[in-house]
C-alpha cells in the first residue's frame, strides 16, 4: 500500500463517472497515485511522474508562463476508497471541471489520502468556477480541496453564522423582529 514520494499518476476522465472512480480507487489501492486528467473521458489510467524526490523546487503557485502551477495538497484522514467513494473527482472539486488536474495517493504513516490538484494552464474553467476564480486560481483550488476534506471527514461543509451586514439587510436598525411563523426564543 505504501507509495514513495515519487508518485505514479494516471490519466482519466474530466468529470468521471463511477467506473472511472473505480479505476482510480483500484490504482490507489495498489499503492499508487491516480491522476484524474481533465481531457480523457473514459480512458484507462496511465502513469506519469508527479515529481522527483531529489528536486523539491516547484513552479510558482500560480504560474503564468504556460507551465502547470504548484500542486495544492491536503491530507484527508480517510482511505482513498472513502475519498473516492462516489466519484473520482469528489464534490466540490467536480465543479472546477477541466480546469484542474487531480491526483490521489495514500498518505504515509496511515494518515489517509493525499489529495492534490493544480490548475491546468490555459484550461477553460466552467461558468461558476470562472466566476469565482478571480486572479488567484491556486487559492480557489486550495479552498476547494479543503471543502472536499471537510465533506469527507466531517460529513458536511461548515457554515458561518450569518454576518452582521446580512442581518442588517433583514432588519433596519435595531428593530428586528422574528418572522411570525417562528416564535421568538
Amino acid at each position: 500500500m505504501r507509495v514513495g514520494r515519487i508518485g505514479m499518476v494516471f490519466a482519466m476522465a474530466g468529470v468521471l463517472g463511477t467506473a472511472a472512480a473505480g479505476s482510480a480507487r483500484a490504482a490507489v489501492a495498489r499503492g499508487r497515485a491516480a491522476i484524474i486528467h481533465p481531457h480523457a473521458v473514459g480512458d484507462r489510467p496511465r502513469t506519469a511522474p508527479l515529481h522527483r524526490r531529489g528536486d523539491v523546487s516547484r513552479p510558482p503557485a500560480d504560474s503564468h508562463d504556460g507551465r502547470p502551477g504548484r500542486w495544492q495538497v491536503v491530507t484527508v484522514d480517510r482511505s482513498p476508497e472513502e475519498v473516492l467513494a462516489v466519484s473520482a473527482r469528489p464534490e466540490p472539486l467536480r465543479r472546477l471541471g477541466g480546469g484542474v488536474e487531480v491526483t490521489v495517493r495514500p498518505a504515509p504513516g496511515g494518515r489517509g489520502t493525499e489529495l492534490a490538484a493544480r490548475p491546468v494552464p490555459g484550461a477553460a474553467w466552467p461558468g461558476l468556477a470562472a466566476h469565482l476564480l478571480g486572479d488567484d486560481s491556486a487559492l480557489l483550488v486550495r479552498r476547494t480541496l479543503w471543502q472536499v476534506k471537510q465533506l469527507v471527514e466531517a460529513g458536511e461543509q461548515l457554515r458561518a453564522d450569518r454576518p452582521p451586514d446580512e442581518r442588517a439587510a433583514n432588519q433596519p436598525g435595531d428593530s428586528w423582529l422574528p418572522p411570525a411563523d417562528r416564535p421568538a426564543r
Partner: protein, 386 residues
Amino acid sequence: MRALCWAPGGELSVRQVPDPELRNDQDMIVQVRLSATCGADLPLLAGGVTGLAAGDVLGREFVGDVVEVGPAVRRHRAGDRVVVCASVACGACWYCRHGLPSCCDNGNTDPAEAEAEWGHPVAGGFGQPRAAGGFAGSHAEYVRVPYADFGAFTVPEAIGDDRAVFASEAAPAGWMGAEGGEVRPGDVVAVWGAGAVGQLAARAAWLLGADRVVVVDRHPARLLMARQHSGAETIDLRHTDVAAELRELSGGRGPDVCVEAAGGLATEHRSLAGRFAGRTRMPEAIREAVYACRKGGNVVVLNSGARFVDAFPVGAAVHKGITVRGARPHGQRHIPMLLDRMARGELRTEHLATHHFPLERAVEGYALFRDRPEECLRAVFTPQEP
C-alpha cells in the same frame, strides 16, 4: 434576541439581533444561562484592527440549555444543560482523533484563510474575529453550536452554573498548562498570572502531583485568591526579584515547569525605532519563565494574544535545553474529566466569577473587567432573568 455587540473602535452595546439558526446538520441552539468574560476578549476592546465587523456578538465561555438540535445531533436533546467548549472542532479529522482538537482541520469555515494567518488552519471559536470561523458569541440569549456532539457536554446535576461555565475554556486552559508542562509528582511549578487560567493551572499542577506551586502576579487580591483557592504560594512581582525568589523556592534549581498564563498583548514598543522596524516587545512573563526554568525543564505558553514577539531568549532556551510549548486548550478532550473533578469537588471555580451582571449591563461588566483587574477577576452575564 438581545446580545452584546461589538462596534468599530472597540465600543460595545447590547442590541436586538436576529436569533441564531441551525446552519449545519450537526448544529444545535443553546439558550445561554451564564456567559463569562475572558481576557482574550480584551484586545477586541482596544480598537484598531480586530477582524470583527460591526454587530458581531462577543463571548466564548458559556453554559446553557439545549433548545433545538439539528438532524445529525445524537448525544443531545432539547432540555439538556450543557457546557460548550469555547473552540469549534469537528471530532473527525486526524488531529481531533489524536486528542488535539484545538488543532482541528475542520473547525473553520474558511481553512484557507486561517492557513494564511497561522500557517495551518486551527480550531474555530465563538465570538472571535472572522478568521476564527465566523461563529457568533455567547453574550446573547441564544447561541448556535456547530459540531454539537463533539463540542457540548451535559453538565452533571451536582455542578452549578457558576462552576460549570469555567469548564468551557478557563479550566481546560489551566489543565493544558500543567499537562503540557508534563507536571510530575515532586515537581516545582511556577505559574505567571493569577487570573482564572493561572489559578486553574496552579490547581491542575496540584492535582497532577506537584510538590510546590508558585503563582506570580502584580495584583494582591488575585494572589490572595490563588493562595486561598489553589493552595499556591505567591510572589508579588512588584516587590521582588521573581527569578531570585523562584531559585530560592526551588533549591536553586529553578522550577521544573513554568506556565505562562499572564496574557496580554505583545504590541507595545520599546522605542520609536522599534516601532518603525516593526519590532514588538516580548511579553515579560515568557522571557522571565525561560530564564527562571530549570535546565531541561518545560515552559508552556498559553498566551494566545502574543502574535509576533521579538527578543525571545533563544540562547537561554538552547543552552539550558528547555522545551517551550505553545498550547490552546484541548477542551473537547479535557472537559469530561474536568466535569468529573468538578462534581467530586476537586475543582472549584465559583470564586472566579467575582461579578454578576444581567446581559443588559454587559457593557458595564466589560468596563469593570478591563479597567479594574484588581477587583474583577471575571464578570459573568445572565441573559435570562430569573
